[in-house]
Subunit: 395 residues, 2 copies
């Protein structure tokens, strides 16, 4: 293990913590761009409560609503323009991963000359990572992406149908105000997709990271076991505060770097899913539920011991030997069954995706991110043929 | 769970990372107070390599050597005076926990008017936490205290025989340069004491934290299992780089807050041990190895389910039921046996401590830290009688 780690975001966690938003923001500015999806946070009163907390602390609010799922570059441009024109000195992302991601990139785009897509487009020649952003405050209303406490964002270029990502130090939120009460109104299907998303963050590094990270393995398993214990309770009763808190906390640690630290992990499942949701505008977590088990069966062929360990530690399966391929397979079956049990799709057909564009999805995935041999990074690295094979197995 | 979390320290981890020290320090200053114990780092060449890296980056060095185990207030005062007189603009702690802790408090004492003990003495009326410090860089040469990546320090007031602690935001190191190669010369006994120390950091929050922290429980178990797997290898062969790296990494995460987050844990075992080592100048990890199992037997009486979980998840013991007191007891036996197997003492007599001062140790412990009822915080809170009982059981 050889790595650097840093995560300076201050986390304020707990039921009722939304009331601390104004105080948290006031330390960084007096005029906030408040970025939202616009729908549910207004219907359920979260928006109003956020504004009340901000105003009570002397922070005035400029609104940027209407961030769509799979947030678009044009939305980022629009938000940055509002922030510039209004002289905002802090940006708040109040919503799901899409809203927080859009808010983060808006905060950087305020200072960015030229096309903000240059900051994002992974694998492009002219990529130019942001180095400066307005202070960012995140308030998640969904337990899923972990965007509240990391320096990443995923944006879709609607003109080119590309969905890509940016990770830059200036995108770390100053404060993440994480109030599990805000998630009680999330419907069961979205709750399940969020659980799938957070588990997939962890399985990516677990299966695609470097060897020799026993502590990170245990941390990853801890997140998965907790999400599998408390996730179904949050789905069965959305008003269960304990279940909402445990799932929300799992989503934070699933991608704040504590699990991935030192793993130098690739994220092939996410990369493949990003292309699917760029083309079909499906829920990210739903797409992951389809791609992840199919990818796991593919990857287990070349690395059975790793998947056998997963089967043993997550599902308590006994191994005949460390490379027990049968146990590995059974672990993946059980994982897929768990996803189905919480209401996730596990077939492309459930997402109304057929086989007509499989080649295109594979091409797009590898175009966005590839190693020096033109393969999608991961264990094992994947050719376009491999990606097609995985997707075909999930039709 | 309701909590705040923040840890802004940048971590540079890996074999050979000492060569990055100069670059890391140069971002914060040009003239460094280099704090060391003075002995082993000079003998084994670490000091020389550190100075070479610093000088190569244009950082000049002022030395403050001679920090003793259980570092003394007078040493802190001496270091702060050197830093002030020489106009140092950054402080480096190169050594074990004692050296890093002394360096941290020196960095704050530079700005502190009056007796620096006021910053430390927990439970004193006139306590005055530091709010400002010179930038701190830590370079651990021992895997043990986790001081390299947290905001705490433990100092002994040799005049009053008090050992107490301070935790303050300004004491977070800016950078922790953690190079496991620096620990290859640590002898087996000190290596074992470090392993006991890091495991105890984790058991304190595991057994004394609030209920309802399943992820933190799994993280704690992950650290313990990894330390128990790799610790004996590091002791058997000090030159095993993989074992040194895993133990070092375990010591970082055992007390950087990732395991303790949201647990609001008390540290009764540490508090009792601090008094023992203030009186007898024993190695901290050795004292913990004696006190921890004795304390566990005491605490398991009132909370068997928690210790049964420990027995099940750490030692794979089958439980007859969740409150299985027999399994709980067996888990503690096995833990104590593990400590003995790596060469730790588990009896006070091995530390040449008899029963003549048991009442005094108990008094001192409760004087330094107590709740509103005059009890040592923990699960359960302890009276002086309880402390005497625990210590007597370990004679």
């Amino acid at each position: 293990m050889k790595f650097e780690f840093e995560n300076p975001t201050r986390l304020v966690f707990g039921a009722g913590s939304l009331s601390q938003l104004g105080e948290a923001v006031r330390a960084y500015g007096k005029k906030a761009l408040l970025v939202t999806g616009g729908g549910s946070v207004k219907r359920n009163g979260t928006f109003e409560r956020a504004v009340a907390s901000l105003n009570a602390s002397g922070v005035s609010v400029v609104e940027c609503s209407g961030v769509e799922p799979n947030p678009r570059l044009s939305t980022v441009v629009r938000g940055a323009e509002i922030a510039r024109n209004e002289g905002c000195d802090v940006v708040i992302g109040l919503g799901g991963g899409s809203t927080m991601d859009a808010a983060k990139v808006m905060a950087a785009a305020v200072f960015y000359e030229g096309d903000p897509w240059e900051m994002i487009a992974h694998g492009q020649e002219n990529r130019n990572l942001p180095t400066r952003a307005l202070p960012i405050i995140t308030v998640p209303t969904l337990a899923a992406t972990g965007s509240e406490m990391n320096a990443g964002a995923v944006i879709t270029n609607e003109k080119t149908t590309e969905k890509s990502f940016v990770i830059a130090k200036c995108l770390f939120p100053k404060v993440a105000v994480v109030d599990p009460e805000l998630t009680v109104s999330v419907p069961p299907d979205q709750t399940a997709f969020g659980i799938c998303d957070l588990i997939t963050h962890v399985t990516e590094s677990y299966f695609n990271g470097v060897d020799g990270t026993p502590i990170q393995d245990r941390f990853a398993e801890g997140v998965i076991l907790t999400a599998m214990e408390w996730g179904p309770k949050a789905i069965a009763d959305g008003n269960n505060p304990e279940a909402r808190a445990q799932v929300q906390w799992a989503s934070v640690v699933a991608l704040n770097g504590w699990v991935q630290v030192g793993s130098a992990a690739a994220y092939p499942v996410h990369m493949i899913e990003h292309v699917l949701s760029a083309h079909h505008d499906i829920a990210h977590g739903a797409g992951l539920a389809v791609v992840n088990p199919a990818w796991m069966r593919f990857a287990a062929e070349s690395r059975p011991a790793r998947f056998a360990q997963f089967a043993q530690r997550i599902f308590g399966l006994a191994l005949q030997h460390p490379e027990d391929a049968e146990a590995a397979k059974e672990g993946i079956e059980r994982f897929e069954a768990f996803l189905r049990s919480i209401g996730c799709p596990t077939r492309l057909s459930e997402l109304k995706i057929g086989d007509s564009l499989l080649g295109r999805y594979a091409q797009d995935t590898v175009r966005i991110i590839h190693n020096s041999e033109g393969l999608l990074p991961g264990r094992p690295p994947m050719s376009e043929k491999d990606i097609i094979k995985v997707l075909r197995s999930a039709l």
